[in-house]
C-alpha cells in the first residue's frame, strides 16, 4: 500500500501525517508513506486543496485533516 500525504508543510499537513502514521501503526499494515511538499508535484496530482491524502493513487481526502478513525476506515477499504 502506498500512502501519499500532500501539503506544503503547514501545521495541518503535519497533523494529517501524524494521524496517518498512527492509523497505520494501529492497523499493523505495511505501507509506504510519502510526504509530497513540492507545490508543483501537488498540482501535478490534480490536488488543489491541501492537506490531501492519496492511497494507491486515489485521492481520498482533500482540504482537511482526517482523524485517525476515518483514515483507518479508508485504509481498510471502507471509504
Amino acid at each position: 500500500m502506498k500512502i501519499e500525504i500532500l501539503g506544503t508543510g503547514c501545521m495541518k499537513c503535519k497533523r494529517l501525517a501524524k494521524n496517518v502514521e498512527k492509523a497505520v501503526a494501529e492497523l499493523g499494515v505495511t505501507a509506504e508513506i510519502e510526504k509530497v511538499e513540492d507545490i508543483t508535484a501537488i498540482v501535478d496530482r490534480g490536488v488543489m486543496l491541501t492537506p490531501a491524502l492519496i492511497v494507491d493513487g486515489e485521492l481520498k481526502v482533500s482540504g482537511r485533516v482526517a482523524d485517525v478513525a476515518e483514515i483507518k476506515e479508508i485504509l481498510q477499504g471502507g471509504n
Binding site: C10, L49, V65, A69
Partner: protein
C-alpha cells in the same frame, strides 16, 4: 514575478466550536491553552464556556450551527460538558485531560508537552462520541485557510 498560489489548505475543514473548561487546576488551564492552540492551528474556534452557562443567545446559536462541538474538560467532573448539555448542546468530541495521562494537581504547573498531548488527541479525534459524515468538499476559494500559516502555505 509570478503570482503566489492561493493558500487553499484546510478549506474543507469542519466548522468546529471548542469549549474548554478553563478550570483553576493545572488540568483546567491545560484545557484552555490547548483550545487556544487548536484555534491557532485552524482546528476550530474556542468559545467561553462561562458565557455559554449564562445561556447567551449568540454563543448558543454558534454552537448549534457548528459541524462539531468539541468540549475539553480538565478532569472527570466534566463541568464544561454538563454546561453544554444544559444548553441543549451535546459534545461531538469530548476530551478529558486527566484521561490523557496528565495528573490533576496539586501543583498548578504544566508543560508544553501536556498541551500538545491534548491538541494531538483533538486532531486525532480521540474524544469522538459519534461519527458524523465529512463536510461537503469545497472548491478553492479566497485563501482564508485559517490554518495558521499566515497565507504562506
Amino acid at each position: 514575478m509570478a503570482d503566489q498560489p492561493t493558500c487553499t489548505c484546510g478549506q474543507n475543514e469542519k466548522k468546529r466550536i471548542i469549549f474548554p473548561c478553563a478550570g483553576q487546576a493545572n488540568t483546567g488551564q491545560i484545557a484552555n491553552l490547548a483550545a487556544v492552540e487548536l484555534t491557532e492551528e485552524g482546528f476550530g474556534s474556542t468559545a467561553c464556556v462561562a458565557l455559554l452557562a449564562t445561556g447567551a443567545e449568540g454563543v448558543v446559536k454558534n454552537a448549534k450551527n457548528a459541524d462539531e462541538v468539541v468540549v475539553i474538560d480538565g478532569c472527570p467532573m466534566s463541568c464544561a460538558k454538563k454546561i453544554a448539555e444544559a444548553q441543549g448542546i451535546p459534545a461531538d468530541q469530548h476530551l478529558v485531560v486527566t484521561d490523557l495521562g496528565v495528573a490533576k494537581g496539586p501543583s498548578k504547573a504544566y508543560t508544553d508537552d501536556d498541551i500538545e498531548t491534548v491538541v494531538e488527541a483533538a486532531w486525532e479525534g480521540r474524544g469522538k462520541t459519534e461519527n458524523k459524515s465529512a463536510p461537503e468538499e469545497k472548491k478553492p476559494g479566497n485563501g482564508n485557510c485559517g490554518c495558521g500559516c499566515g497565507g504562506k502555505c
